[in-house]
């Protein structure tokens, strides 16, 4: 059976999207596909694929949300592993921790695996191959552990970890005194981040096409990524129109780091001077933004520095995902090495936050 390692929705691209399109073409009757035509199997999750997913979800009695995740993938005949999951089963008899659900603060790519748990909150993890073994917290003052007394379809145990105070500890799987496996647990305080959204218009009428009415949706989407994985809570401080008394031209630029570029080209400072000082992070929504030597080439979506972000209209990712990415920069995370597919990767298909990045965002 085919497997999928992430949830898909509009804006995603990749081979898994191509697989999804193939399956939708097989499983959704032609009259129910957009315009009665088969989907183009191009690996791009656009409006037609979205409509086809919704048609399929309606057919199957699933929640119609356009997201191909833990319920829709199996309905398509695909085993959903989720990001960060270990696709190959562990050797028989070796206890192993796995995530209960994707994008919930579990990092299975590090040794030992790692789980973020909020202070006064809880997270659930799966433990396999440990039927009769003892599971203990090394420091119950930081985090406690309890079994959920049920049988699960995955055949393992489910453990609830409760965060008590900020700190780091381990959950050990023991056979007598011998530790067979461990899970590192980071209990984190909630880190609220007050964000003001500034919708920019310049003196000659250049202005963002975005709408203030969308802000609540962006905040919710960003929190689905940041709050669940790093205990960073985005709070809408304000959403307002700001007028810049200057012609900013067709592209708003950050250029003070570029030798030889005239000082007047650096428009960043005049825009961010309108920041809301009661907010921690100010997002300035503009029509077009660039920060390199080729401003006519649209290859940058947003830039973040010093508590401010300039964010253009035409981006290749979901708005809330790019917002979460830029907040990650604000919280001190740079782009990771090429080859990693994470929220903080400049080119990404995943919204996962690694242990390393979560510990920078919210130490």
């Amino acid at each position: 059976m085919a497997t999928a390692t992430r949830a898909l929705q509009k804006g995603h691209t990749g081979n898994d999207v191509k697989m999804l399109q193939e399956l939708l073409n097989q499983k959704v009757p032609l009259p129910k596909l957009p315009q009665g035509q088969k989907l183009k199997e191009d690996g791009i999750f656009g409006p037609k694929t979205d409509a086809a997913v919704r048609a399929f979800q309606l057919m199957k009695g699933l929640k119609v949300d356009g997201i191909v995740g833990p319920k829709t993938w199996p309905a398509l005949g695909v085993t959903y592993l989720g990001p960060g999951a270990t696709p190959t089963p562990p050797p028989a008899g070796v206890p192993v921790f796995e995530q209960k659900e994707p994008k919930n603060g579990f990092d299975g790519t590090v040794t030992p695996p790692w789980q973020m748990v909020p202070v006064n909150g809880s997270k659930t993890v799966i433990l396999k191959n440990a039927a009769n073994l003892t599971v203990v917290s090394r420091n119950p003052a930081i985090a406690t552990i309890e079994d959920i007394p049920k049988c699960f379809i995955h055949g393992g145990r489910e453990l609830t970890i409760r965060g008590k105070i900020k700190g780091q500890t381990f959950i050990d799987v023991k056979n007598g005194a011998q530790i067979l496996a461990s899970l590192e647990v980071a209990v984190k305080n909630k880190k609220p981040l007050k964000v003001t959204f500034n919708f920019v218009e310049d003196k000659v009428g250049n202005k963002t096409k975005r709408s203030i009415s969308d802000v609540d949706t962006w905040v919710k989407g960003a929190n689905d990524i940041l709050f669940k994985q790093a205990n960073v809570e985005v709070i809408k401080q304000s959403a307002r129109n700001v007028k810049i008394n200057q012609d900013l031209g067709s592209v708003v630029r950050f250029s003070s780091h570029l030798p030889g570029v005239a000082a007047k080209e650096h428009e960043w400072d005049v825009v961010v001077a309108k920041r809301d000082n009661a907010a921690d992070f100010n997002v300035f929504l503009v029509w077009e933004y660039e920060q390199d030597t080729t401003p006519a080439v649209d290859n940058v979506e947003a830039g973040t520095s010093g508590g401010n972000c300039i964010f253009e209209d035409n981006i290749g990712y979901l708005t809330h995902e790019t917002l979460a990415h830029e907040i990650g920069h604000h919280l001190g995370v740079d782009h990771p090495a090429p080859g990693l597919d994470l929220l903080m990767s400049p080119s990404r298909t995943d919204q996962r936050i690694s242990k390393e990045h979560a510990n920078i965002m919210n130490p």
Binding site: D276, G303, L331, D334
Partner: protein, 306 residues
């Protein structure tokens, strides 16, 4: 909820009108600000914070009216009050921020400490012994924010040394930060900076080692808190970062090329810290030429005893 805004709009208009008549209306203006503050916090209690932002545009006028909101049972209300205090350099904010240092929320304790660190002259703060007591209480309460620990370095005495030692013992390998985007470093490193400032030779020796051989993030952090480093041998050791061309980002947005290097941060930090009379423009975003870096190295040699 739009009705809140509509409900308070007449009050805000009246307040704005009164503010415009400031020279004629002393006490009345004060009442108008108090009314505006109350309106903004009434909305904040309902989860609307835009009036707080508008209040923030008035600068320090609101400070005398913020005290009660620091005691509010609603954490978001207290957060908004601390944010307004954090946005001003007015001296009247300092005692209120000192109260917030022992708030029940660690986020608020950290914010209060950062506001004191960034917005107020530490030498003036050091003349307030009650602030030292509040900082110690805050740290003993679990506040490991870098700003709180660094400010303790301005309050000598055995109680401060005991608070720092207890924090080191408690922190183990915990990490902390100054501002949101500054490097994340061990709490123990920040404690060493304060201990060194208070004359602890062992801490100074540990800092010397970090300055010369420490991880990039820790040397970057030391350059960002150079104000707190007074020992000439430490400043000379940190001057070696003028030779370090590792890219660190910062200054310009992530992804912008060319990236800033550790040596560029060192040029700015050392020049500002030692008030070096350099003949080029300092910038937090650009790379400096080898000649510019060499001139800083040369000026340092004359400005600082070995």
């Amino acid at each position: 909820m739009p009705f809140i805004r509509a409900r308070w709009r007449p009050v805000l208009l009246a307040a704005t009108l009164l503010l415009s008549l400031q020279p004629m209306l002393g006490a009345t203006m004060n009442d108008a600000i108090a009314t505006q503050v109350d309106a903004a916090f009434a909305a904040a209690r309902q989860g609307r914070y835009d009036l707080i932002s508008e209040l923030g545009e008035q600068g320090a006028n609101a400070i005398p009216h913020l005290g009660p909101y620091l005691q509010d049972p609603n954490e978001m209300v207290r957060l908004q009050a601390v944010s307004l205090l954090a946005a001003t350099t007015d001296d009247r904010a300092a005692p209120l921020l000192a109260k917030a240092l022992t708030d029940a929320s660690q986020d608020l304790r950290a914010r209060a400490a950062l506001a004191l660190y960034e917005q107020h002259d530490p030498l003036r703060l050091a003349q307030r012994p009650e602030l030292g007591a509040a900082l110690r209480a805050s740290v003993n309460q679990g506040n490991d924010a870098a700003a709180a620990v660094l400010l303790l370095g301005y309050f000598p005495g055995k109680d401060t040394l005991a608070a720092l030692a207890a924090l080191t013992a408690r922190a183990a390998d915990a990490k902390t930060e100054l501002a949101a985007w500054t490097p994340v470093v061990p709490v123990s490193l920040v404690v060493q900076i304060s201990q060194s400032q208070l004359g602890d030779a062992k801490a100074r020796s540990a800092l010397l080692h970090t300055s010369l051989n420490g991880p990039l993030a820790e040397r970057r952090f030391l350059l960002s808190v150079l104000r707190e480093i007074d020992a000439p041998e430490l400043l000379h050791a940190l001057a070696q970062t003028l030779d370090d061309t590792q890219e660190i980002g910062g200054g310009a947005p992530a992804g912008a090329e060319p990236k800033r290097r550790l040596c560029d941060l060192a040029v700015v930090a050392l020049t500002r810290r030692l008030k070096l009379p350099v003949q080029f423009e300092l910038s937090d975003t650009r790379r400096f030429s080898p000649a510019e870096i060499a001139s800083v190295r040369q000026l340092m040699a004359g400005a600082l005893p070995r």
